[in-house]
């Protein structure tokens, strides 16, 4: 069963909630990155705090690996049940490294390591995960100095734990070296010393940091998986960066708080998931009517109702697109990778501020929970101008202008008064039932859509310039499709990814006109974006590759499905 890994490898750790799978994920990805490998990690977990079966997949590569793989090269289970749980993804090629005796696992392609006995010798069964981490690191030939220095950072706040954990790593490492020397597993992936300076963040952090680059100074939220990650990140950064973080009593309060914040000069956001957002809809309409900006992050999960709380989906595009009663403009962004999340979350604030509308950042569970190394960011071009105007005595909040945008004043800044009303209103903001004014105001609000459309972000096209087949995707499928496209090695095929889902510039139609066959890829059952493309650009999607079982596409799976579709 000797195996050599040259380009990349996927290592899966599985166990039950509470066994510290998260800890080794954090440890391993950071140490391997310090050592010069590209790393990617994504987790899959159940909606419970203890028990069940959770797993984390770590991919390590010479080139950037940024998507989920359905292939397990090495599996390290910490429970017997978690092997059962993963049986569909374990192949005859998978090598299991496990405490076979203690877990009572019977598997031919296995390396038996008494993780639990070693952990007990160190003092407690809980060290078994760290012993396993040591074994893996030895297989990658990572130097001990690199391991120790990262561990010291991770355990900086709990120095009493460091000695035992280093002992555990060392014990695991010894065994790993034996496995390596026996030739059973040989990892020969090239390292690149530049990678150690890369940053390592997940999707939630990227959205939060991007928002901060857009000037986000306040967040209002009611916890809901998977939207909570952004709230947690902002809370963590709040002290150093002066961010007001308030947990609202419900989502209705959250969005009204955010709109109140913007009205008084703050730059606020809300973060939630589909179910929580459903409660915010009235607020979206309010933002549209009073032309007070708001930024809404929705991390999608499968519905309807409570659905699958910890799984992934792209089912709430329609919800975001059609949310709120009445007709008014909005913008929807959906980052495809971490770099885009940093950028688009910032742009979301700029767009909200400039057009005075609700702006959405649409992500999903898979996106917010995955992380990988990216290059350092450069914000030197970011200007972050606040568009708030100092009011004059005769200030009219809704003065009619050429492009529909009225200068936005805030209370307490200038000599004027700032009057906003959720009823139809006149230029001053006072309630009116004058139907001529109604038409003028409705036209004014909607006219901002023309400008938004004109300035819509360009989609990105990758692959053969001279394509016959065009594969469309949005959001987190970007990196997966990119990898599939590479696997496909098919000429005449390209992919197109939309960082902005709505509105679209009618000019984007040209990308579809060139193609003979158009295929879409979405994590939902009805092809919501495919339908929108028809509506907005009159683009006909010939084949839809859809997935709605709560798990993300893997590159391998997507490659196969594209092959069939072409």
């Amino acid at each position: 069963m000797n195996k050599n890994f040259k380009e990349n490898i996927s290592v899966v750790l599985s166990g039950e909630a509470g066994q510290g799978i998260q800890t080794i994920e954090n440890l391993l990805t950071r140490i391997l990155k310090d050592d010069g490998f590209n790393v990617f990690a994504t987790k899959e977990y159940m909606s419970r705090i203890r028990g069940g079966s959770n797993s984390t997949e770590i991919r390590v590569g010479e080139y950037a690996v940024r998507s989920h793989s359905s292939n397990i090269d090495i599996l390290i289970p910490l429970t017997k049940e978690s092997v059962e749980h993963l049986k569909d993804t374990i192949s005859s090629e998978t090598i299991i490294i496990a405490d076979m005796k203690n877990l009572k696992i019977d598997y031919s392609n296995a390396v038996d390591v008494p993780f639990f006995d070693i952990a007990k010798e160190i003092g407690n069964r809980i060290y078994s995960n760290i012993v396993a981490a040591g074994t893996i690191l030895a297989l990658f030939s990572t130097e001990k100095e690199i391991i120790y220095s990262r561990m010291k950072k991770i355990f900086a706040k709990k120095p009493e734990l460091i000695d035992k954990n280093i002992e555990a790593v060392n014990r695991g490492y010894e065994i790993g070296e034996k496995i390596k020397n026996s030739g059973i597993i040989k990892i020969e992936i090239e390292k690149n010393s530049k990678i150690k300076d890369n940053i390592l963040i997940n999707g939630s952090e990227a959205v939060a940091l991007g928002a901060m680059a857009g000037g986000c100074d306040s967040v209002f939220s009611y916890p809901m998986t998977p939207g909570t990650g952004v709230l947690l990140s902002l809370a963590q950064y709040s002290k150093s960066f002066g961010i007001l973080v308030e947990q609202a009593e419900d989502e209705i309060a959250a969005i009204n708080m955010a709109i109140g914040g913007w009205y008084a000069g703050a730059r606020s956001m809300v973060t939630t998931s589909g179910g929580g957002f459903a409660l915010m809809e009235e607020g979206v309409s309010l933002s549209g009517m009073i032309e007070t900006p708001v930024v809404i992050h929705i991390a999608q999960r499968p519905g309807p109702a409570t659905g699958l709380p910890t799984r992934t989906a792209q089912e709430d595009l329609n919800l975001a697109l059609y949310s709120g009663h009445g007709e008014f403009p909005r913008a929807i962004y959906a980052p495809g990778n971490l770099e885009q999340a940093l950028k688009l979350s910032r742009i979301a604030f700029e767009t909200a501020d400039e057009y005075q509308i609700p702006v959405f950042i649409l992500t999903d569970q898979y996106f917010v929970d995955s992380y990988y190394n990216i290059e350092k960011t450069d914000l030197s071009e970011v200007r972050n101008e606040n568009r708030i105007t100092e009011t004059r005595e005769d200030y009219k909040r809704y003065i009619l202008t050429e492009n529909g945008i009225s200068p936005r004043g805030i209370p307490g800044y200038g000599k004027g008064l700032v009057i906003v009303d959720s009823d139809e209103h006149d230029e001053y903001g006072h309630l009116t039932e004058n139907l001529d004014i109604r038409i003028k105001m409705n036209d004014k609000r909607l006219s901002k859509l023309d400008l938004l459309r004109k300035n819509a972000l360009e989609p990105e096209i990758l692959g053969d310039d001279d394509y016959k087949n065009l594969i469309v995707c949005w959001g987190s499928n970007y990196e997966t499709l990119k990898e599939s496209l590479k696997n496909l090695k098919n000429t005449k095929t390209a992919m197109i990814h939309f960082p902005q889902l709505y509105p679209l510039n009618y000019d984007f139609k040209k990308y579809f006109e060139k193609a003979e066959k158009i295929i879409s890829v979405e994590n939902n059952a009805t092809g919501q974006f495919s339908n929108l493309l028809k509506l907005e650009l009159d683009a006909e999607i010939h084949e839809r590759i859809l997935k709605y079982d709560g798990t993300p596409f893997s590159a391998e799976e997507l490659t196969e499905r594209i092959k069939k579709a072409i």
Binding site: K33, M212, G242, G260, G261, Y263, A264, V418, I419
Partner: protein, 292 residues
């Protein structure tokens, strides 16, 4: 003084098309509020915000000259709290009917109190849904027949005073639209209170509430004694639970609690409102790039 009252009057006051019925208690509350504010030199139309929801009472900002946020039905408290939180230099009043505050906005009412934001919560309590033409509100008396509650209301009456005290409110008062002089004084104290202040203002609805009339309110309320100690919580609760005769005045007050914004870390070192702050992009960049 006269000049200051005019400060809060719209300059097109004469042409205003007011949506209230003749004789409505809202007129009196509007005048009382103007009078109260005109006697508070620290407040100007420019440094205050009147936040309201939807209903007849919630239209009050439109007959006023000040910064206004007339938002959604039931949602004025979340908005008002965060206006104050992001700019503590503003004086913030959250004002609506009792259906708006205690019904649609009931959850916000409970939790706003827990935060103790430095805002004033004025509730026009006419014990009926006025704007939607006379359905029962949370404070409608048992037995009241309406076009919806055709057999008479049998739900327990909501007790805003007791609820507010129980949730830890730091200023709880009841007033009457029929007594401008005393109500004005109560409202002034409520506005000057550092923290959340509730004033439940009894108000007749001349069109839809034929039970709780001017006369009824007069006969069924009394003013707390001058020597009443409003800092005794248990005593205050006892008074709050007496719904036979409604107490008027400051029923409970606690001046020792910090206001919401005073506890926020954003104001620990920097007292400036958020909109005046410059974001340090360079610092953020190096922070992001330190996440290695």
């Amino acid at each position: 003084m006269g000049n200051r009252i005019e400060l809060f009057a719209r300059n097109d006051e004469k042409e205003m098309d007011i949506a209230w019925c003749p004789g409505c208690g809202n007129f009196s509350i509007l005048n009382i509020l103007k009078a109260a504010l005109s006697e508070m030199e620290e407040i100007t139309p420019e440094n205050m915000v009147l936040v309201s929801g939807i209903g007849q009472a919630a239209k009050i900002p439109h007959y006023f000259r000040t910064n206004t946020f007339n938002g959604l039905h039931g949602r004025s408290l979340p908005v008002a709290q965060m206006i104050k939180a992001v700019n503590p230099e503003l004086h913030v009043i959250s004002e609506s009917g009792e259906g708006d505050m205690y019904g649609e906005g009931g959850n916000h009412f409970i939790h706003a109190i827990r935060r103790n934001p430095d805002i004033t919560n004025l509730v026009h309590d006419n014990m009926i849904y006025g704007l939607t033409k006379g359905q029962a509100s949370p404070t409608t008396q048992k037995g009241t027949v309406t076009p919806v509650q055709i057999n008479g209301v049998f739900l327990e009456q909501f007790n805003p005073i007791a609820t507010a005290i129980t949730m830890g409110a730091t200023f709880v008062a009841r007033a009457s639209s029929g007594d401008p002089a005393q109500t004005k004084e109560i409202i002034k104290k409520a506005i000057r209170h550092k923290g959340y202040a509730l004033v439940d203002i009894l108000q007749p609805c001349v069109t839809f509430n034929k039970i709780n009339t001017y006369k009824w309110f007069k006969e069924n309320s009394y003013y707390l004694d001058e020597n009443y100690n409003s800092e005794n919580k248990m005593k205050a609760l006892e008074i709050a639970f007496n719904t036979e005769k409604l107490a008027l005045g400051i029923i409970y007050k606690n001046e020792d609690k910090k206001a919401f914004h005073e506890q926020l870390t954003i104001y620990k070192e920097n007292k400036e409102p958020l909109f005046k702050r410059k974001h340090n992009i360079k610092e953020l960049e190096s922070f992001i790039n330190s996440k290695i």
